[in-house]
Amino acid sequence: MTAGLTHLSHGGGDDTALPPPPSRPGPGLSDVARDKRLLALVETLIPTDDSPGATLANLDHDIESHWADCGAELLEARVGALDRLDAEARARTGRSFAELDGQEAAGVVGEVESGQTRVDWPEDFPAEQFIAEVIQLAYEGFYGRSARDGREPVGWAILGYQPGVT
């Protein structure tokens, strides 16, 4: 089994398990709990409205799998970044990032993205870089089809897009 966020998490997160995402081919963490901070972050980036958002697209799971594939050192740095994002939320609201409503979460992400941080971030992986990375990975998962799993991205239906080839 691949090491995941919930195994490496060391404080700051709410470990209440969410339903596991559906299993799919390739390396994944379908048997472990989803990290609610990462889930809240990607849902902030691509919110659910009258159409599916990041949650239904299981983007947290995909990103977590991607990080796990990149090795324990990288994964641990991302876990640390989620811890810091959580600390940023607590510093502003007294609550965990996963407990914020959409507007509050967007406010925290916006400030952290622009470098307005209230906790210390490592120089070699600053807050802006972490947020930019998650944005990129989330949108790639939402709108981009990867050979990694071959499934149709959730975002295509929202745009009425079909590539026209099977």
Binding site: G53, V109, I135, P163
Partner: protein, 561 residues
């Protein structure tokens, strides 16, 4: 594979495939060496993140083992592996870049062949005329259009399209007509974009299905015409052409007198692993792209050729060019139907390729290909749209398909310092020295690109797009050219006007390395046409047999290693 051929070709892209077809059909025994694999249409990757047009995860089709290149920028050297776009790679596959290309099959303009005469030579540049003219190449362009299978306009509005194309294009879209009207208000004529694509069943392959993933992808129905499905099959059909796939040439070999006599290559073994092998040929043709062709010439140094082959005057690797692409984008008016079917590129103006005020050269401008959703998110949302969140999601729904992208290949002004050299100490997985790409784009290229960008904005504005904005201007990571430029005199270049390397009667270059300048157009049709022309000299050389060749006379040498 046998040990001795008439013609040995390195690289199966537009140049190599074309030479293979013509040489084999002339009855010569041919070995076509390709570093990548053959990719069947059914296996064409449909990955929207990993394709040759993705700046982030470019996929070379056949991922090589460690193959670093060093890229020098502002005095700092970065060692980069595939798929980093700074490497300026083409697809590593049978057919090379023509497997995944955008199929734009333009002829160069007559003025593209005489840039120095027309504009003078700017300081710091190596701008020069070609040693041949458009008229010299014109019959080969027509031949290439027929052999490749180009769909062009039914009407022939100008000299550049003065021959009947094998196929006619798809009917223009509402966007094409809207752009034509806007161009007219700018005082520019427009014309359809010639495409090497089957618009009807042709040459035993089906017509394009108008899918919405095109440039950067191998065609899933094999309707995109490239070297892999036109030239290479012709060569193989003769029974005289052996294909050596996933095989790498590491050196062009010479005999004791310094005469080219074959190559050293690394091929896969039947039971796994790799083995080195030496293969001899009467004529060697380098068609590996402007970077790898230059690399091979530089790697092939010896006592007789201490600076590498063809490098007596230090030109090998210099004058590296691609194209610089300005981009303007605009939102379609509500009454114009968006382009929802591929390929998408349809209308061009050639009014800006030359004779522009205050700049050297110029570019064609055309609307671009249909975009995948992730490419649209990356590059085509209006500038005031937030990068994420509800507003981004709303904007994607509102604007996807409704943004028109105008862009064009600005002719780069060559510089002797923009070059490919060997990078000491950095070797690939096979232990072969690798290259460094260094130098800066010439300021005149930047000036021309700014001008063309302004015109692209003007076109969209006059067409009625609202809003209109400037996209990310970039120096293309494809269209590599210039590193073995042709010249009349040996001291001015690497090959003669027939692609033969100066001082070597049996060593040829058949790719865009020979381009003195790279045109205001996509260059692939010129590679096909030139390679048909070059094939004649190659066939003559290889037909002459194993004759005693004079030792090349050593002349003044500049060490370019």
């Amino acid at each position: 594979m046998i040990d001795r051929y008439d013609v040995l070709i390195v690289g199966s892209g537009p140049g190599g495939g074309t030479v293979a077809a013509h040489a084999a059909e002339a009855g010569l025994r041919v070995l076509l060496v390709e570093r990548g694999a053959a990719i069947a249409p059914a296996d064409a990757p449909q990955d929207h993140l990993h394709n040759t047009m993705s700046w982030r995860y470019r996929n070379m089709c056949h991922a090589p083992d460690s193959d670093p290149r060093s890229v020098e920028s502002a005095g700092v050297v970065h060692v980069v592996e595939p798929p980093d776009p700074r490497r300026i790679d083409s697809a590593y596959a049978l057919g090379g870049g023509s497997l995944t290309w955008g199929m734009q099959a333009w002829r160069f303009d007559p003025d593209d062949f005489r840039m120095a005469s027309k504009y003078g030579v700017p300081a710091g540049s190596s701008l020069a005329d070609w040693p041949l003219t458009y008229e010299d190449l014109k019959p080969y362009y027509a031949q290439a259009e027929r052999e490749l299978g180009v769909a062009g306009p039914a009407a022939r509005p100008g000299e550049l399209v003065d021959r009947a194309y094998p196929m006619t294009l798809f009917a223009p879209s509402e966007v094409d007509e809207w752009l034509a009207a806007g161009a007219q208000r700018c005082g520019w004529a427009t014309q359809p974009v010639p495409l090497a694509i089957n618009t009807v069943p042709h040459a035993g392959r089906p017509a394009c299905i108008r899918c919405r993933q095109c440039v950067g992808f191998a065609c899933p129905v094999d309707a995109k015409n490239g070297s892999h499905n036109t030239m290479v099959p012709r060569a193989v059909k003769t029974g005289l052409c052996d294909l050596a796939l996933q095989t790498r040439v590491t050196e062009v070999t010479t005999d004791a007198r310094g005469i080219v006599d074959g190559v050293e290559l690394i091929e896969p073994q039947a039971g796994g692993g790799l083995q080195r092998r030496r293969v001899r040929a009467k004529a060697i043709v380098l068609a590996a792209g402007a970077i790898e062709t230059a690399r091979l010439l530089l790697l092939s140094h010896s006592r007789h050729h201490p600076g590498g082959l063809g490098n007596t005057f230090g030109h090998v690797g210099r004058h590296l060019q691609t194209h610089t692409y300005p981009v303007a984008l605009g939102v379609l008016p509500p009454d114009v139907a968006p382009v929802l079917a591929g390929p998408g590129v349809g209308t061009a103006t050639l009014a800006l390729t030359h004779d522009n005020p205050g700049v050297i050269g110029g570019a064609l401008l055309a609307n671009d290909f249909v975009m995948t959703p992730i490419a649209f998110w990356e590059s085509a949302l209006p500038p005031n749209v937030p990068r994420w969140g509800k507003a981004n999601k709303d904007a994607m729904r509102r604007f996807f398909g409704r943004v028109v992208d105008i862009r064009g290949p600005v002719q780069q002004i060559p510089s002797p310092d923009l070059r490919v050299t060997l990078q000491p100490g950095v070797r690939d997985a096979c232990g072969v020295s690798t290259v460094r790409l260094g130098g800066e784009i010439h300021p005149e290229t930047r000036r021309a690109a700014r001008f063309i960008e302004e015109q692209a904005v003007r076109w969209l504005t006059e067409s009625g797009a609202q809003p209109v904005w400037v996209g990310q201007q970039s120096d293309a990571t494809y269209h590599q050219a210039g590193t073995a430029r042709m010249s009349l005199a040996p001291e001015d270049g690497v090959t003669d006007r027939g692609g033969r390397v100066h001082g070597h009667d049996n060593l040829f270059v058949a790719d865009a390395s020979v381009h003195v300048t790279n045109g205001a157009f996509n260059p692939a049709l010129t590679i096909f046409a030139l390679s048909i022309r070059t094939s004649q000299s190659i066939i003559e050389t290889a037909t002459a047999g194993w004759r005693q060749r004079p030792t090349p006379a050593p002349i003044r040498r500049k060490d370019n290693r």
